[in-house]
């Protein structure tokens, strides 16, 4: 049976919350268009400010530039940034999963080389998993890295790579050796690729909302130095699946539509009609419960526990909620007052982003499969 602990955030983490709010109050130039979706707003200047406050790599050891703090502290900082609609996408992936991956599996030299720059908000990473013929079936990747004198030569392509046209590095899942018959998990490796390297062509892909956040990357004989393999060659499958747990339980999995909620409350004012207040209350009930669940998972991460199934649970509920939220506000909104409202702008942007909520970071179908495995069904 899947249960989440009765964990609440410790008082010390709550004290940190006040610091984050005070900081954000002075950052109006970065908050002109607040959007709680973590992929909107690539702002290296803002990321560097967060780095200077010690709010990137918070849980990492001090020797690598980290804060040596708890997952509760990181939870508070990340949810405060998202709720305010701050531009966090530049450092988000490096902070959330590339850094923790290197910390867990990287060589000492890799940790020294990459982690301190990430914590300063100067070094940004993208995720290199999907390919044109590889979506949810991740083990089917065809991009290869072949050993040559002085390193590896990469050929193939990656797709849906958020911010590859803006970030510095990609951690790509590549095939370094053939699969062992039926076992496709053998022979996969993760490798750090400089996105400006010769032979790497990055082409932005326009999404249905009109934005250009994700990309296709084509690798033609891209030479990568030997020391860029993360951990052991051939260990890529184990590493990439462990990385996904970090990706799935955080507040970015239920706060993407949060600004729509704020603007809806503004739209209806202090004395809402019954159906308007009921919509607000229903949204709040889901949101408050998801926060508790996500904090429970942060507590498990703090204790070094495996959270794969619990994280999938939070993402499944959180993504569904992110889609429900705009819809509840749309149906309750007073139509005579919505034209030119901040709610309307926020609603339309989020509605157009919403198909991605249940795709990125593992589709709804994959997550339900993970939960089903946790229930012993497969």
């Amino acid at each position: 049976m899947l249960e989440l602990d009765r964990t609440s955030l410790p008082a010390s983490s709550e004290a940190l919350r006040a610091d984050v709010r005070a900081f954000l109050a002075g950052q109006q130039e970065h908050l002109a268009e607040p959007n709680s979706d973590f992929t909107t707003g690539h702002d290296p200047v803002f990321s560097a400010k967060l780095g200077a406050r010690g709010w990137i790599g918070m849980t990492w050891p001090v020797e690598f530039g980290g804060g040596g703090r708890s997952f509760f502290d990181r939870y508070v900082v990340t949810e405060e940034l998202l709720a305010a609609g701050a531009p966090v996408s530049a450092h988000w992936i490096a902070d959330r999963q590339s850094g923790p991956l290197l910390l867990r599996f990287g060589t000492p030299a890799q940790k020294q080389r990459y982690l301190p720059a990430i914590t300063r908000g100067e070094s940004f990473f993208s995720i290199g998993m999907s390919e044109p013929n590889t979506g949810s079936d991740l083990a089917s990747v065809r991009t290869t890295a072949k050993p040559v004198d002085g390193g590896w030569v990469i050929n193939g392509s990656k797709i849906w790579t958020t911010d590859a046209h803006r970030n510095h590095f990609l951690i790509a899942l590549v095939r370094t050796a053939p699969a062992a018959g039926e076992n496709r998990h053998v022979g996969l490796s993760q490798i750090i690729v400089d996105l400006r390297a010769d032979g790497a062509r990055v082409r932005p892909i326009r999404n249905m909302a009109g934005g250009e956040d994700f990309n296709e990357i084509v690798f033609e004989d891209v030479l990568v130095p030997a020391d860029r393999i993360v951990g052991e060659p051939g260990n890529g499958w184990k590493q990439v699946t462990s990385e996904l747990s970090y990706e799935r339980s955080g507040p970015e999995r239920f706060l993407s539509a949060f600004r729509v909620f704020v603007e809806f409350v503004r739209l209806v004012g202090p004395n809402p009609l019954p159906h308007e207040s009921a919509a607000i209350g229903r949204i709040a009930a889901h949101l408050m419960t998801l926060r508790r669940m996500s904090a429970s998972v942060a507590g498990m991460l703090n204790e070094g526990k495996q959270v794969e199934v619990e994280a999938a649970l939070v993402k499944e509920l959180g993504n569904n909620f992110e889609k429900l939220l705009p819809e509840l506000t749309r149906l309750a909104a007073p139509t005579d007052r919505t034209r030119d409202s901040a709610w309307r702008r926020s609603f339309e942007m989020t509605q157009l982003l919403s198909p991605s909520f249940t795709l990125r970071g593992g589709t709804r179908e994959i997550l339900r499969g993970v939960i089903a495995r946790g229930l012993g069904l497969r």
Binding site: S8, E14, A278, A285, H286, M288, E365, I371, R378
Partner: protein
């Protein structure tokens, strides 16, 4: 399975209560008892077992237990569809002093108390009103009408004798009873899910067990997520009872367990097919209860209205501080 236990320390009072209650209820509450209770026969022996264990005083002063233990016990009672007015007895004992006889609670409306669980068998009935801490205590119970909710749970009407005393209780009765139903619901939903998981593993169609079909796996995954959310919401509310946020957190728990009841009840019945729709099957003792409890002490809409009004009143720029408050 650990039930409502909060950690693995077997000596925690809360865990002792949960483990003992799970054992007693699993041994004694069966389909025959549930059917008898739903046809109007009060389960005397079960009540005697509760009194013998001292469970009727959980949460009361001098019992060494408090509201967390009380709500943990109610969650366990939901897991077993215990056909007693346990929530009402426990809370009546907290407010009006522990009594060994059966106590119950209903809605105080003029000179009657309505919707009283097992009013016909109670020695003491307390009448409460929404938004009031003043309650009326009836010690000589005269039942004027028998009734039942959609789960077949006794919901009676009793007369209030003219000289019945009133008293003011220390915490809002409506809030605690709403949370009681939420806790019972979290427990019952867990049993619904466990039953569906077991059935999906046992039942074979097209040459394989239902649990091997992806459509069924995904349905059960959705149910598991709802059950986990419902339970987390209940315990967030229990943990907030001594704070200013109690009312808001109970609203969340009542709304979230109510929504989960709709989703899980529907999906679990679909997994069971026609057999789960029969009276002979035990599933409906749980699904009918969670459906009925949604509407007792405020349904999702009424609690959402109240919660939403609180948030709207604090203003758009305070939404996040409200949501993230503690």
């Amino acid at each position: 399975m650990s039930g409502a236990r909060m950690n693995n320390d077997p000596n925690e009072p809360l865990n002792i209560i949960v483990d003992t209650a799970n054992r007693i209820f699993a041994d004694s509450v069966d389909k025959a008892m549930l059917d008898a209770a739903e046809s109007g026969r009060f389960p005397d022996k079960l009540w005697q077992a509760v009194v013998a264990t001292g469970f009727h005083q959980v949460g009361s002063l001098d019992s060494g237990t408090g509201l967390p233990e009380l709500f943990a016990l109610l969650e366990v009672s939901g897991r077993h569809a215990v056909p007693l007015p346990l929530a009402e007895s426990l809370l009546a004992n907290v407010w009006a002093g522990a009594a060994d006889g059966l106590s119950s609670i209903g809605l105080w409306q003029g000179d009657v108390i309505t919707e009283v669980p097992w009013g016909r068998s109670a020695a003491r009935v307390i009448g409460i009103r929404q938004d009031s801490r003043e309650v009326v205590v009836v010690d000589s119970v005269d039942t004027t009408a028998h009734g039942a909710n959609m789960a077949g749970e006794a919901r009676d009407r009793i007369a209030i004798p003219p000289d019945s005393p009133t008293m003011t209780v220390s915490s809002d009765p409506w809030t605690l009873l709403a949370l009681a139903r939420a806790a019972q619901t979290a427990g019952a939903l867990r049993t619904v899910l466990e039953s569906a998981l077991t059935y999906a593993g046992d039942r074979e169609q097209f040459g394989r067990s239902l649990s091997k079909f992806q459509a069924i796996q995904h349905s059960l995954a959705v149910q598991a997520a709802e059950v986990a959310a419902a339970r987390r919401a209940v315990w967030a509310a229990v943990d907030s009872l001594d704070t200013q946020r109690a009312r808001a957190e109970v609203a969340v728990a009542k709304i979230r367990t109510g929504e989960a009841s709709g989703v899980v009840g529907e999906a679990a019945h679909q997994v069971f097919g026609a057999i789960g729709y029969t009276h002979e099957h035990r599933l409906h003792h749980f699904t009918r209860r969670v459906w009925a409890w949604r509407d007792e002490y405020g349904n999702e809409f009424s609690w959402a209205r109240e919660l939403g009004a609180m948030i709207a009143c604090s203003g758009a720029d305070s939404v996040w501080s409200f949501i993230s408050g503690r």
